[in-house]
Each structure stands twice: as structure tokens, then as C-alpha cells.
Amino acid sequence: MSLRRSLTARVTLLGGVALMCLWSFFPIYWMIVSSLRPERDLFAPPTLIPTSFDTGFKAYWTLLELTDYPLQFLNSVMVAGAVVVITLLVSVVIAYVVTRYRIPGKTIIVGSMLYAYMFPPMLLAIPLLSIFAGLGLADSLWSVIAAHCTLTIPLGVWLLWGFFKVMPLDLEEAAMVDGCTRAGAFFRVVLPLSLPGIVTVAIFAFLLSWTDYIFAFVLVSSDSQKTLPVGLASILGTFDARWGELMAGATLIALPLLVLFTFLSRYFIQGLAAGAMKG
């Protein structure tokens, strides 16, 4: 990469970056700021920078009274974590086998995984509930995990298919000539090279699970099994919650992710960079 850059190029770049940040962050900024404003200010004409600050965090306390945030947070984390693990295991295997072996009807098999996306989830959720109830899993977070996997595995398979397909076979061949089994070649050669793809799938799987509302709502009844989006949506219907509390709830859902992501983004970037070394 050339180290010298014209001034215009640099200014354009930084300008573009600034706009991109503004676009992405402004609504989030507003959400956080609104949750910290004293209630009266929410009814007054809004100012970009808050003039007063609710040090009592009243909106947050009210919110915590209305919903059991810590429990819902835990539930969301557990479900998302399990979904990521299962998704990675299953979709890596499926994508790899599909690209490396002659499987009859593979396009149909993989294509039909897309069917999960092609139906409105509400109409799928109710039959799914019947299945899980029959298995004794109704009102269990396991059913939510399984339902989320039906959303994430097709995505994982498709993304990794893209990755594995362009990976030349020679590398594995070479490793196998050197005495590796197929599985060994897989672990030693293919996986490290497709790390960016795998990290991407992990992130998407996590997010698809974290942000899902419909399956979590239908498949689970008890308050003790609710996840965060369900918790937030359930206070939307009440009259006790107003904009301040809603923004507080939204912030509380977003904040852990923000923190987690800033933390993990290093690994994310490493993963991406590892792929870059290949050149």
C-alpha cells in the first residue's frame, strides 16, 4: 500500500469516514442522551447537547422495576452463545463437505435451507412450538436455541460455501501428500485460512440470535425464560413506560453489545488481517 497520499485523497477519506460515523452513530447517541435527560426536558423542545443531566438515572431505575433485566440479559447471552457454537460446528461441516465431496442433490439440500428465510417467521413459530412441545421442550430456552439455529445455519453454510469454494484444493492436497488425513488437512490448513469467514459467521450467528424477537416470544412463556428483546417489547405495551424508560431499555440492550464488540473487534480485525497475509 502506497504510503504517500495526496492531500485531497486524505481529506476525502477522513471526510467520508466522519460522515460514515455520523450516519451510524447519531441515532444511538440520541438514544443514550434521551435516556439520561430529566423527564421534563423530554417534553420541551429538544437540544442536541443536553442542557441538564439526570444524575438520578430515574429512567433506568423505573425500567429495572418494570422488567427483570439481569435475568433477561443472562438468558440472551446463554442462548446466543449456544447458538454460535452449534452454528459454527454444523455449518463448517456442511459447507466443507458440500464443496469437497460429490454429494448428489447438494444444491437442492443447501437451497432448501433457505426456506427458513422465505416464510414469515410468525407462521413457522407456531408449528415449531408444537414440535418442541412434543419433545417436552416447550417453554425451554433450548427450543429457542434450536429455532435460532434454523436461522443461522443456512446463513453460515452459504457464507462458508463462498469461502471454501474459492480456496484452492492444492493446499489440502499438499498437506495430505505430506501424510495428513483429510480431517487433519481440514484442521491444519483449511480452518486457519478461512478464519475471517468463520469469525464472520460467528458474529452474525450471535447477532441473529441476540436480536430475535418472534421465536423468543412464541416459544417461551415464563417470565424467567424471557430474552432481552421480548422484555423490551413487553414494556412497550404498558402505560408506565415512556420515552425516557424506553430509551433506557434500548440503551441497556445495546450497551453490552457495544462493549463486547469493542473488546472483540481486535480479534475480528486479527481474523481479517490473517486472511490478508495470504497475499
Binding site: 477519506l13 469516514v17 460514515m20 460515523c21 450516519w23 451510524s24 441515532p27 440520541w30 423542545p45 429538544p46 460446528l89 466443507y96 463437505v97 465431496y101 460429490r102 454429494i103 444444491t107 437451497g111 432448501s112 435451507m113 433457505l114 427458513a116 422465505m118 416464510f119 414469515p120 417467521p121 410468525m122 407462521l123 413457522l124 413459530a125 407456531i126 408449528p127 415449531l128 414440535i131 429455532a147 439455529c149 445455519i153 443456512p154 457464507l159 474459492v166 483429510r182 480431517a183 481440514f186 475471517p196 436480536t211 424477537y213 418472534i214 423490551l232 417489547a233 420515552w243 434500548a250 440492550i253 445495546a254 469493542t262 480485525i269 481474523g271 481479517l272 486472511g275 495470504k278 497475499g279
Partner: protein, 295 residues
């Protein structure tokens, strides 16, 4: 393509079959059940179901609300995908350049995607609140009066599109960015040495190398945006007066509000068939399997 020879081959295949069959079971059984429902008439999910065969289909297909919803769905999907891809690629290109604070900026750009839809819709509803929303106040200041954001069909649709683009562009950005890392830098160097401009490098190296990834991304986003239920339902509920009602919303309203479960399942099945056709067409022009075995 390798043939099945060794033990580890078999182990892999077993895992494959197990994974595929469980996933397909969990996907296909509900889908088939929903399709089955479309052949019945029922007022609720627990009422008696009367067999009507294809009568639901004739009824729905001759109902102008269905075609209207279909058109809205296409409009919504096409505009949002186009915007998401253009913006997503642009952001990915920016994020690939070195500049100070890049890790932080990468994090910020992805933030919208991290938020559950219910959070996003609540934020934008607050920003667009008819009396107190920030955007409403700004609009007043610049002389637009107090816009009725959600009362006007065009503005309601535009808002839906903007919110969807804001939320889901990071998906494209991340996919594209990840794929860009797999393009050997040497290619770019060689091209630059040959005198190719940045634009030419982008168009002749980046795009072709990333074509498979782009194909998959556009396909997935198309299916998702056509079927996106929660953002439309939470933001406009298909309003005003069905101006933003697309097929998933129509299916939902028929099945859950209008005591027409069979009709709702029919709309969903028809939507599903439409998507199947569109996907087949898509694959005709952008085949997933190139002709096999390069060297």
C-alpha cells in the same frame, strides 16, 4: 472432487448427514405445516379446520390487496438491497484504508446491526415523534412545517427504507470487508505498477474477485428484505392505509387479526413460491456452481 475413501472421510460425512437432516427437519416440517394450512379454512389456530383445497388460492389471487402487497414487497426489497449494497461496499472500501482510529470506526459502523429491531424502531419513532421528535423539530426549523411522517404513504415508505438501510447495511459491509482481505495485495500492487487508477483497480480486481461473496450476500439480503416482518410491523404496521403493507404483514394480519388462518398461510405460501421463482431466475444469471475443476 474427492471420493469417499478413508475413515475421516466417513466421519465427516456422518456429521454432515446428521447436521443436514436435523436442520432440514426443523425447517421443512414447519414450512410444510404452514403450506398445509393454506388448504384449510380456519378462524384461529385452534379452531376446527375445514378443507377447502385451492379455494383460498383463488380467493387470495383475485384480491387486489394481495397484488398491492406484492408490489410493495418488491419495491421495498429492491430499493433497500440496492442502497444496502452500494452503501455497504462504500463503507467497506473506506474501512479498508488505513487511518487513525480505524478499529474504533469499524466498531461504530457495525453498531446499527447489533441492535434488535425493536430497539431500532423505538429510536426512530422517538426521533420522528409527531410533536417532540428531534427530526420533526428540525423539519420545522427549516420551514417544512410539522411533517406528518407516517401519515403520508411516500414518506412512510421512505422512512421504512432509510431505517432498513441504516440497520442492515453493516451486514454487507462486514461480508465485503472480510472478503476483501482474501484478495492478495500483490494483485493491487501489480495493477498500480501497470498504471491502473483506483477506480479501475476496484472495478477490475476487487469486484471480480469478490463476485461469489457478492452474489451470496445479495441473494441473502434479497430474501431477507422481501420477508422482513418486524421492522415494517413495528414501525408502520403496514400503514398508512396499507401503503407499506407487504406480503409478510398481509399474511400476519390475515392469520392473526382477521380470523383467516388459511388465507394468511396462503399468502405466505404464495410469497414463498414467488421467492423460489426469483431465486431460480437469479441463479440462472449468476450461477453458484461454476463449471468445476480448475487446475
Amino acid at each position: 472432487m474427492k471420493r469417499i475413501r478413508t475413515f475421516s472421510d466417513r466421519a465427516l460425512l456422518l456429521a454432515f448427514v446428521a447436521g443436514v437432516s436435523t436442520t432440514l427437519l426443523l425447517i421443512l416440517v414447519p414450512v410444510l405445516d404452514a403450506v398445509r394450512l393454506s388448504l384449510y379454512q380456519a378462524e384461529s389456530f385452534i379452531s376446527a379446520q375445514t378443507w377447502v383445497g385451492l379455494a383460498n388460492y383463488t380467493r387470495i389471487l383475485s384480491d387486489p390487496t394481495f397484488w398491492h402487497a406484492f408490489g410493495i414487497g418488491l419495491l421495498f426489497a429492491i430499493t433497500t438491497i440496492a442502497a444496502q449494497v452500494v452503501l455497504g461496499v462504500l463503507f467497506a472500501l473506506l474501512l479498508d484504508q488505513p487511518f487513525p482510529g480505524r478499529p474504533v470506526v469499524r466498531g461504530i459502523t457495525v453498531l446499527p446491526y447489533l441492535l434488535p429491531t425493536v430497539v431500532v424502531t423505538v429510536i426512530f419513532q422517538w426521533l420522528l415523534d409527531g410533536g417532540l421528535g428531534l427530526f420533526t423539530v428540525w423539519a420545522e426549523h427549516i420551514g417544512l412545517g410539522r411533517p406528518a411522517w407516517f401519515e403520508n404513504p411516500t414518506s412512510a415508505m421512505l422512512i421504512l427504507i432509510v431505517v432498513s438501510v441504516w440497520t442492515w447495511t453493516p451486514f454487507v459491509t462486514v461480508c465485503f470487508l472480510a472478503a476483501m482481505q482474501t484478495v492478495p495485495k500483490s494483485l493491487y500492487e501489480a495493477a498500480r505498477v501497470d498504471g491502473a487508477s483506483a477506480w479501475m483497480r476496484f472495478w477490475h480486481i476487487t469486484i471480480p474477485m469478490l463476485a461469489p461473496m457478492l452474489t451470496v450476500t445479495v441473494l441473502l439480503r434479497s430474501i431477507w428484505m422481501f420477508n422482513k416482518f418486524d421492522v415494517v410491523w413495528l414501525l408502520t404496521k403496514g400503514g398508512p392505509l396499507s401503503a407499506t403493507e407487504h406480503l409478510p404483514v398481509l399474511a400476519y394480519r390475515r392469520a392473526f387479526s382477521q380470523f383467516d388462518v388459511g388465507g394468511g398461510a396462503t399468502v405466505a405460501t404464495l410469497s414463498f413460491l414467488v421467492l423460489t421463482v426469483l431465486i431460480a431466475v437469479y441463479f440462472h444469471y449468476f450461477p453458484l456452481e461454476e463449471k468445476e475443476e480448475k487446475s
